[in-house]
Assembly symmetry: C2
Homo-oligomer: 333 residues x 2
């Protein structure tokens, strides 16, 4: 394309929009099943329950250590299917592009999105782009909708959680939130911390080999604390966490100490929080640690008959983990 | 909710976000199959080919005569499935909400979205909301992804278009574009023109009773002209339009005359452009006219062996219909 930046005419349905779609989106995302001339696309589904999820992405900055909004948009939606016990198969993509975005930047991001999709084995089967005026968008917003297949009869969900179960996380928490924070120039801080943005499919599949697996979730926006609060709210159980057992990178803790955040509220984008029958927790932990992305897995707490989310501090005290109120970090994912 | 406007904390994954989702989105969109506590949702699909489509919506203003961004987001995606020959079954929804949007307005829009979905017989099975800072969004952007079922073996698509076929439209063109334009205060014009935003499912199903139906599309962004250009580009055929036969409301033509637009480039949001075997064109036209939303249908042109898109003017002349270049109307859908 001759132009260097996105103009409103890239969104008008005419020639420039077609060029944008062909030369950036189709070029990076073509997979044999993407037909940009269709209004809707057929998908072939094998046997199994069909599961659907959708997620929007507004991360600022668009590119950050460890990823960008493109790879994030693939991992985020694939991870929602993975922790639901489904195998991700197809994705659709929406892009809201702000006038003035550099085409080279868009190209990098869509290339990264295409790479991530290929690595995860999913096909992008439909998409749509819209261009909005300068000052009406944050550079680029994406949404992906995922379709996956799940084995029928799988007993997986919050309703299977029981008092006495163990709570596991698959690795250090808060990396994504802290990395994005550092990448924002407003904080005037620098570090070599990278987002954990990655597919959790292999971790989820490893956990699914255990009959005692009750529930999985990827603790993104709102962090581990928000997932735990949802468990408490929906099941009526309580949760007891051991702060000393919670894996947090030293750099993440430092950033939090300086800025006054709690890593438990920071987003992860490549972790699984799982609830497992306590009798199988050690075996599940061992398998997680042998699985790609799971080296830092830990058993971090247990499900209690009732009560709030309680954290046993490293100094022998206890504190109640509150539900997130103010937003520490808008546009984190 | 106590608050009157959206704040960044409505997007943080915590309590306020949950309230927003429960009290606005879930309240209007619950349909028995929407579970806001799941990461992904199972869908039951009957027999047939599974077809998928997705569309983003950025219309400005958010509310306009004849609809709002909520109803538009349902109709737009349902229509893409309908003109593909599929029966729409499920939708997912993404919302990007700008800090400062009045909650009452969001409530009206989501209510309208829920109504439209119910009227169209589709279930919203998954959703996601993100809040972006003031000045980083246009109030509200939506995306919907649709899943539908299509009869296997259906012969429908541009590849079936032949020279000699007739081109039909199901009603007056350009209503949506002109109505949205008038609704923008910047033009200082007023009128009682309403958007044609509506489901085209019944129209598409009526056309599908004809073995001579080759192709359907809803001419949204870029209007009828853009659909015709796509046909020419992909099939290599030409198209001859008769301007006198093209249904355009007098008010739409007046607005276009004043502002210097051509109605053929203006978006429709409740029309079908169809290509039909010329031998069945009269019967197809009759049936369209008896179908809800098709009273103003017309045969407007024919497919030629080759050449560009030519318009026979009402005064006996001819002009070539150019591909859309500059955007006449950003954020039209």
């Amino acid at each position: 394309m001759n132009n260097i930046c996105i103009s409103l005419a890239h969104g008008n349905g005419g020639r420039l929009m077609r060029q944008l779609i062909e030369e950036i989106f189709y070029r990076h995302l073509n997979n044999g099943s993407l037909n940009i001339d269709l209004d809707a696309a057929p998908v072939k589904l094998g046997d199994g329950e069909v599961w659907v999820t959708t997620d929007g992405f507004t991360v600022d900055p668009l590119e950050f250590p460890g990823g960008n909004i493109g790879s994030l948009a693939i991992h985020g939606t694939i991870n929602d299917l993975s922790v639901s016990g489904a195998v991700p198969v197809y994705l659709t993509l929406n892009a809201y592009i702000e006038e003035g975005l550099e085409l080279a930047r868009l190209d990098r991001i869509v290339a990264s999105l295409g790479d991530a999709a290929r690595r995860c084995g999913v096909s992008i089967v439909a998409g749509d782009t819209k261009v909005v005026g300068k000052g009406q968008g944050g550079g680029l917003y994406l949404a992906t909708t995922g379709i996956g297949l799940r084995m029928p009869g799988l007993r997986l969900g919050m309703e299977y959680i029981e008092a006495g179960d163990a709570v596991l996380v698959s690795g250090p928490v808060g990396d994504h939130g802290a990395a994005v924070m550092l990448a924002r120039e407003q904080f005037g801080m620098r570090g070599d911390l990278a987002s954990d943005s990655a597919p959790v499919f292999a971790l989820a599949q490893a956990l699914m080999t255990f009959t005692g697996l009750r529930f999985m979730r990827d603790p993104t926006r709102g962090g581990v604390a928000t997932v735990l609060h949802e468990i408490v709210r929906i099941t009526g159980c309580g949760i007891r966490l051991r702060a000393a057992a919670m894996p947090v990178r030293e750099q993440v803790q430092s950033v939090c100490d300086i800025l006054g955040y709690d890593p438990l509220y920071l987003a992860c984008e490549g972790r699984v929080l799982a609830v497992v029958d306590a009798n199988q927790a050690t075996d599940a932990l061992d398998l997680l640690r042998q699985t790609e992305g799971g080296a830092g897995a830990a058993v971090v707490g247990s499900i209690e008959p009732r009560g709030p989310v309680v954290v046993e501090t490293e100094f022998g005290g206890e504190r109640i983990l509150q539900e997130l109120e103010d937003d520490p970090l808008p546009r984190i994912c």
